[in-house]
Symmetry: C3
Subunit: 373 residues, 3 copies
């Protein structure tokens, strides 16, 4: 009873926090037809500054912390990233009118991490005065990269299998009857994946190469800003610019980005109409389910190695979040046959608002209720 | 004597304030041919941040204030906005070589409000340590929208009347003699106003629709940023980002914008040469006259309901200001037959520098002299 | 021994300062193929803010300082700027496969000043708690403009002489034998310099006009931002925006710019392959030599008029720096026949990293070691 009332009160209070308020404000003014535009260049530099700051925080924290206490959360982050893709493979991909490659790409995007959502979670934790490990932002790549790699690898294995069985079927059918025109989309000649493209050039090597996918993820603007910050925090002394610039500007810049994400979510809603309605169901349910799984794993680390409850919330939120900046280009390159309207629409229009607007207050409320007991 | 010396000293001192100094600096470096360019994206985000901050200030203030004390200033703001358009109708429009629609559009723009000029006034009041109601920035839309709506409605009524009499005259003249070639510009076939365009499609409905003009004003980038800030200030708790981001950055961002406005004013001076010289006279005199009218109305509120002298200055400056961002597109859409060189040139090249460089120190000096007695 | 150990320790420590760390970080992530991009608009506004801040600092300082103590450093700045061009004329230009006009343009660029490098030096001095005259940033134009003017004037005199001797030679050769096809590039008809272009129109006036070159330098975005700041600092009271905005943002903005310069340096390395390898040698050696000359001149001012050791470091670093923003367009216009790949590649890819990464710690270490004795 106490648990529920604490949770409901906290949820309502969270909607008034600047982070959520600007997100909802953005959705409302977009719905009202506002002509407000935040220039692309500003969004780019805000994302750079937020992720550099998170990286710097993580790097400075790791420099001063016990590495052994990071092991369990890191392992759970990797496991969650991989698990999320297989959940999509065995739920979303089985639904009617959903193509398997689209489902895998969507799973990859929901397993990948949104720097903005994580920034919102960190700020909300600070506003709620709930302590968390300063290095917990550095869990980001440990969930992000495994999710993207798993999605691309599984999609390519699936496409290779399908192609081989299609070739076999075609050979059989060619000996009996002509190819039906409707089969066009399954048997076209041009490469369906980057891997397939490469395998045409090196026909003997049919395995999916994992390293190029990892490399591409690490080179994306979001992750390279964060890893740069991490490295600078670890190996140099950036405290003066951190304290005078990156840290104080963080919340304000985040508020502008939340506004943009709210407007963007609203304008992407239309794209979802073009794909199967199951994407809407998945985008609402998945962030909560993924977050609860990570929350459970985080609680194991809490009891086993003293991972803080705030850290558990961070782990849960990065599991709930879906990538909005760095994930899409990696997936587009890695699974070119998947439909971007499906995965980007699902993530930006529904997944991200649910992750920020529902999951952050939900997991924070859960942690506060558990901590309050 | 004391009054005059106080005023002159204050005026000279104001020119050294960062706000005015950057405006004048911008005009000087533009005159000297500087290649300095502040990117458009930066100006856009600065305007967004300034107006969001003014909105937040207003929203937080209204949440904690007595609404009854706002009634009189709001009524006077609306009245001033409408009055300014009629002043233009019966002065500027009567002058030689001035078209009535151009005069009405110019009046609408001078009645509309410049967020940047208001920001400059609020900063100057703070620098002069003169208190004002924190909600006074929220008077902006109450003058801005009535002025634009009045200008567009009056222009359309005028054009409709003229068209009807032209049609009558044409019908008469057609029965007598062919149309003179010089009459082309008055009798062309394509729609001269959005309203006229609509009335061609729905010929039975000949009244000007007011709601679309209001909607368009509210959806403009400047006003929607301000109203977003107002709503967030009223209904959520944005104090943390307000204090850490929007408030401290305000003056600095304003200084950059003033520089841009100074350079812009200089580069637009040339446009004024293409239109009747009376626009120059109007642009110099109008801000001072409009401001003095609003100052007088504000003084009534000062004695009647205790509206602060600082608030009177804010009311006078928003009356003196002419819209530079949100007004022009609304007018261009609402009165497409008016000449933008006339109203934008008059406002940007002369109206705004006069409002910031002459009216702010003038009204502040007046208020200080009155308050000092 | 004490001197050397102090110097080596300081050098290693400097590499960990945010300024250098971000520069090196930028080079590393560019080398690793990062997709990170800082938008052009952001770089433009950062340069504007850094140079306005340096100008404001200088202007406020000059207002409160004894002008006589500035005379010697100003004279030495002018002398160094001119000297650097003649060094290039008699070293780089004499090397094999190096064209004289390219060498002169490169010398002009290395004599001109980089605002970003100077900003890095000022920040590093503050981090090292080494005092310097606040007006020392105002030495910038006194070295920048003389270097550019000298390079353009000397290049034009050289080209005029060459053209006249070519004409004479051609007249002689025409009477004897036809022109060899290989001579095309030296005897083409279209103007090789702006001056030459003008001299075709006014054939009687064959001298190089100096004032347009100075005017163009002063109108460039970097120098006009700095001079605006200087004028505002001298004649107005910008302290409120200086303290609330330009000063606190300085280091953070500089860190972003250093990152961009590091990435830019890496990506320009390729351009150097297209020109003679001697440019690489020059770009490594010249900043150190130029800096040491200015350091020596600065020490004379130190003993003669009490110019601070920090000021000596500033003078040495602006001599070591090469212009990256305002110089190239001036040179491109002034010596159109010079090859931009040569001078821009040499400056951006090698000169600037050497100036920031080697010269700043070197001269700071020298000054600390001298001061420590």
């Amino acid at each position: 009873m106490d648990f529920l009332s604490l949770f409901v009160m906290d949820f309502i209070k969270q909607l008034q926090s600047p982070t959520l308020a600007f997100l909802i404000g953005g959705m409302i003014i977009a719905a009202l037809g506002s002509q407000l535009v935040i220039p692309e260049a500003i969004c780019t530099i805000i994302v750079f500054m937020l992720l550099t700051k998170i990286g710097l925080t993580g790097g400075i924290a790791i420099r001063n912390s016990n590495l052994t206490e990071m092991i369990l959360p890191v392992v759970f982050a990797v496991a969650t990233g991989i698990l999320i893709v297989f959940i999509a493979r065995f739920t979303l991909a089985k639904l009617p009118n959903v193509k398997t490659v689209d489902a895998l790409a969507t799973g990859g995007l929901f397993g990948a991490v949104s720097g903005s959502t994580m920034a919102a979670a960190l700020t909300t934790l600070e506003e709620a005065k709930m302590p968390y490990e300063a290095w917990s932002g550095a869990l980001y790549p440990f969930m992000d990269i495994p999710a993207l790699v798993t999605a691309i690898v599984v999609a390519n294995i699936y496409l290779n299998k399908k192609k081989r069985s299609a070739v076999t079927a075609m050979e059989e059918s060619l000996s009996k009857e002509p190819v039906a025109a409707g089969d066009y989309s399954d048997q076209q000649d041009y490469p369906r994946t980057r891997q397939e493209y490469r395998s045409q050039q090196e026909p003997e090597d049919n395995r999916v190469k994992i390293w190029p996918i990892i490399e591409e993820s690490l080179q994306g603007p979001a992750l390279s800003a964060m890893l740069l910050g991490l490295a600078l925090g670890l190996f140099t002394e950036p405290e003066s610019v951190y304290k005078s610039f990156y840290d104080p500007a963080f919340r304000g810049l985040l508020s502008i980005l939340m506004l943009v994400m709210g407007m963007e979510a609203w304008s992407r809603l239309g794209e979802l109409r073009k794909v199967a309605q199951w994407y809407v169901v998945y985008s609402v349910v998945a962030p909560i389910v993924h977050g609860l799984i990570a929350f459970g794993l985080g609680m194991i680390a809490h009891y086993a190695t003293g991972f803080s409850l705030g850290g558990v919330v961070v782990l849960a939120v990065i599991a709930a979040s879906s990538s909005d900046i760095s994930g899409p280009p990696t997936l587009r390159a890695g699974i070119p046959s998947a439909n971007p309207s499906a995965y980007i629409g699902a993530s930006t229009a529904i997944g991200t608002p649910i992750a920020i607007g529902v999951c952050i207050p939900l997991f924070l409320g859960l942690a506060q209720a558990i901590g309050g007991n």
